[in-house]
């Protein structure tokens, strides 16, 4: 984008266009001929990865918006129906939801890279500030997107975050009302969040164009932190950077696909599979992992306004970085002290992230305050000070010298970098995940599930038995309202034929109407109907159950989780073990004990359950030996019932699990092949440059 283009089209049609709109010349000079420092390492591919992710998010987002309903009464259901009914809807939703995490994962690496190599320094200040603006826009977009499924965490996250603005003196309350469009978070809030969530990515794309423009004017920074001087210092963007970026994106896709196909819910909060309920707050309101450090800063300050100011300040301060760090040497490679402090700062940030996921009590608060101080001290005290006292090592004369010094040394440690990234990612994400469970209850034992692991499949027999248990026992209080009778005959389901599903449906009475007389009537169920709920609404359910509300079971295995703790979450990440929900449900059903342990004060009308949080559950022991008869000779025991019904409910929560795992395997085979090919192609291309 700097200087006139040397692009000379030969095709007359292209020439005609080029004279009137020199867009091909612009593209050519920006992405083909553009000189790239030849010593860039793989940390620089995250720019390309981010562009790719922005494209993926916009594309999948536009598609999801075609199926989503932004209404408080329908949003949750519409998201569930996207996943269940829309062709490949589960895939698109997984890509979009995990994609948000991937986007932030990549942007953090991109930012830390800029921090380490001094990419914010003269003449790249505007480039850096544009980056901070993009980051802020990403945070706003990600937050509003998280609200859209209208689950419990969405609703309460929206309430908490919008309430931040109530800290503003004098106008706070009016600002919050203005943001909500009502007296509480409600339908108008959801509507505007949807509108803005659709808008902001395009604003981001606009600022990204400015960001790249500024990058192409100033030129890319590089690990040596010296500007290119001669031709020998650079290589043309295409094919060199293009190939390298494509290889980087391909590696990143492997990491991404791991989440999409094998642990789609690992990064989300189970609480968000419970529909929004303005009457009940979750035990812990935790933001998505990528906001946790700032959430920790917010909670560290024991004053509402100051906390909010500190939280926003922690981001805004990045924009002033070019002036806070006045050191002449750019790259921390040649700054022995800055290098060490940089890594300490990384640890502080990860530590803040960990604390953000912990309950704000005891030692966590104290450590949180220390880390918050260290976070700001890094920018406000350390960097200005370092610039004065540190004696940097000599930088190479030119990029060419830097490259020559490296050749003959160890080869680029790409593999180890990828592994390090995966471990770091797993650690960071797992650390956040581990914090999201209800504490204070015994951990349910891990069960053996036929559906766990990458090749797992549902056990049809267990599902059919589980359906029987559901119908004869659970259905008297619990609904299954996201499952249709026709689902019983779908591939990946309990393996019934269409006729069997139809016969099953016709045993139910379904309310329909109004008819020609304007009256409601009952008719036998049809395959297209959904499982009827035992109670017409929450009030009726509570009235019939002594004030307790039996939750709908369609999503129960996804809506339940518990802390697996260190190092189990690491094992979970690598083994793709996602079965906390099913483990919890089956353990709960088996966890009833006749007598509470000595000293436990069981409230009136409750029953003691080892695995229920707080141990006092309103549901009486639902399953007893011999209660349901099995025709297939399976033992009629509580343990068997619990396992079977959980198996069935796991399918009810994710009917496309088999399709997901199957497609995942194909995608992995493909991606590995592509990555290997890209690696060798890249090597061949770069052979000319070294």
């Amino acid at each position: 984008m700097s200087g006139p283009s040397d692009f000379q089209p030969t095709n007359p049609a292209l020439k005609w266009i080029e004279r009137r709109l020199p867009i091909m010349g612009l593209m050519h000079s920006s992405f083909v001929a553009y000189p790239t420092p030849r010593n860039l390492n793989y940390w620089w591919t995250f720019g390309a990865i981010l562009s790719f992710m922005l494209g993926v998010q916009i594309l999948t987002g536009v598609i999801l918006a075609m199926h989503y309903t932004p209404h408080a009464d329908m949003a949750f259901k519409s998201v569930e129906l996207i996943v269940r009914d829309v062709n490949y809807g589960w895939l698109l939703r997984n890509i979009h939801a995990s994609g948000a995490s991937m986007f932030f994962f990549a942007v953090y690496i991109h930012m830390f890279r800029g921090l380490y190599y001094g990419s914010y320094k003269e003449p790249r200040e505007v480039l850096w500030i544009l980056g901070v603006i993009i980051y802020l826009l990403m945070m706003a977009t990600g937050f509003m997107g998280y609200v859209l499924p209208w689950g419990q965490m969405s609703f309460w996250g929206a309430t908490v975050i919008t309430n931040l603005f109530s800290a503003v003196p004098y106008f706070g309350e009016s600002i919050v009302t203005l943001l909500w469009g009502g007296y509480a978070v409600g339908n108008p809030t959801l509507n505007r969040f949807f509108s803005l969530h659709y808008l902001l990515p395009f604003v981001i794309a606009g600022v990204v164009v400015l960001h790249i423009w500024a990058l192409h004017v100033a030129g890319q920074n590089n690990p040596a932190g010296v500007e290119p001087k001669t031709e020998k210092d650079t290589v043309p963007f295409t094919p060199y950077a293009t190939m390298k970026d494509m290889f980087g994106v391909s590696c990143f896709l492997l990491f991404f696909a791991w989440f999409i196909f094998y642990m789609p819910n690992y990064l989300g909060d189970p609480e968000n599979y419970i529909p929004a309920n303005p009457a009940v707050t979750p035990a812990h309101i935790v933001p998505e992992w990528y906001y946790l450090p700032f959430y920790a800063i917010l909670r560290s300050i024991p004053n509402k306004l100051a906390g909010v100011v500190a939280m926003f300040g922690a981001i805004i301060i990045l924009a002033f970085l070019p002036w806070l760090d006045s050191a002449k040497t750019r790259s921390s490679k040649y700054r022995p002290l800055a290098k060490q402090f940089f890594w300490m700062f990384v640890v502080v940030c990860i530590g803040l992230g960990y604390l953000g996921a912990q309950p704000p009590e005891g030692i966590y608060v104290i450590v949180g305050r220390i880390l918050t101080f260290l976070y700001f001290a890094y920018f406000l005290i350390l960097l200005p000070l370092l610039a004065r006292i540190e004696k940097p090592r000599p930088v190479p004369n030119s990029i060419a010298d830097d490259v020559l010094a490296k050749t003959g040394g160890k080869p680029a440690p790409m593999v180890s970098t990828v592994i390090a990234l995966m471990v770091a990612g797993g650690l960071l994400l797992g650390g956040a995940e581990s914090a999201r469970a209800a504490e204070g209850s015994a951990k349910p034992p891990a069960q053996k599930w036929s559906f766990s692991g990458p090749f797992g499949k549902f056990d049809r027999g267990a599902m059919q038995r589980g359906l029987k248990v559901y119908k004869e026992v659970c259905a008297s209080c619990h609904g299954l309202s996201f499952v249709a009778f026709r689902n019983l005959a779908e591939t990946g389901g309990p393996g019934y034929s269409v006729a069997q599903a139809q016969a099953f449906a016709s045993e139910y009475k379904v309310k329909d109407g109004p008819n020609d007389q304007g009256e409601m009537f009952e008719r036998p169920g049809r395959p297209a109907d959904y499982f009827p709920s035992p109670f017409p609404n929450e009030q009726a359910a509570r009235a019939a159950n002594g004030g307790a509300f039996p939750p709908d079971l369609s999503l129960i295995t996804k809506a339940r989780s518990y802390s697996r703790g260190f190092p189990m979450f690491l094992i979970d990440f690598f083994t793709q073990y996602q079965e906390q929900g099913p483990d919890y449900v089956t353990a709960l059903l088996e966890g009833y004990e006749d007598k509470p342990p000595a000293g436990f004060n069981l409230p009136e009308g409750s029953y003691y359950n080892t695995y229920f949080p707080g141990h006092a559950i309103k549901m009486p022991k639902p399953l007893n030996d011999g209660q349901v008869t099995y025709d297939d000779g399976s033992p009629a025991t509580v343990a068997q019932y619990a396992k079977d019904v959980t198996h069935f409910l796991m399918w009810a929560a994710e009917p496309h699990m088999e399709a997901r795992k199957q497609l995942g395997l194909q995608v992995f085979v493909f991606l590995i092949l592509l990555t290997v090919l890209l690696y060798f192609t890249k090597k061949k291309v770069w052979a000319n440059a070294h």
Binding site: D85, F670, L674, N688
Partner: protein, 176 residues
């Protein structure tokens, strides 16, 4: 991208490029499948398109009703003797879309005409019992259909479609 340094082994190198490009292209093409497929009717829409049953008893001779199946209006007309005669005496060869009335109704149920009430011109809804032929008239662009739902005048190219239906009993049909 043939440069001097690769001239020593051009075939292997070219093979690598072509293979990489081909694999990437296959991946790109495969990615399009879910992105396009999601636009097709989803499972609940497909399920909602199940057959419907219509009771014919309340429809008096000369009357017609409109029911919906798969989001489309279906006209069910109880034709009078006169209307049937009109439909049958027209020479089939003189019609723009030649079809005999017998082909458009179920044998033994000559009085019942069941057609998709969507003009075959551009998808408007014709009005029943109107127009010069006592059948259907589409006010949008002036297509006129006869008492068998066959096009007689105007821009529509074909007769009103007959949906798949069967007589469950003498007084009940199942559409779909």
């Amino acid at each position: 991208m043939t440069t001097a340094s690769s001239a020593d082994n051009p075939t292997r190198r070219d093979f690598l490029y072509v293979a990489t490009g081909a694999v990437a292209a296959v991946g790109g093409a495969a990615t399009v499948v879910p992105l396009v497929s999601q636009m097709n009717p989803d499972a609940s829409t497909v399920a909602a398109g199940a057959p419907i049953e219509v009771d014919l008893t309340p429809i008096a001779e000369g009357q017609d009703i409109k029911v919906f199946w798969r989001g489309k209006p279906i006209y069910i007309s109880h034709r009078t003797k006169k209307q049937i005669e009109e439909a049958r005496k027209v020479p089939v060869s003189s019609l723009p879309d030649p079809q005999s009335d017998e082909q458009r109704v179920k044998p033994g149920h000559d009085q019942w005409l069941v057609v998709v009430g969507i003009c075959t011109h551009l998808g408007c809804i014709p009005i029943a019992n109107e127009g010069a032929y006592d059948g259907f008239f589409c006010p949008c662009h002036g297509s006129v259909y006869d008492t068998s739902g066959r096009i007689r005048q105007g821009p529509a190219p074909t007769n009103l479609a007959v949906p798949p239906y069967t007589f469950v009993s003498d007084t009940k049909i199942q559409i779909g």
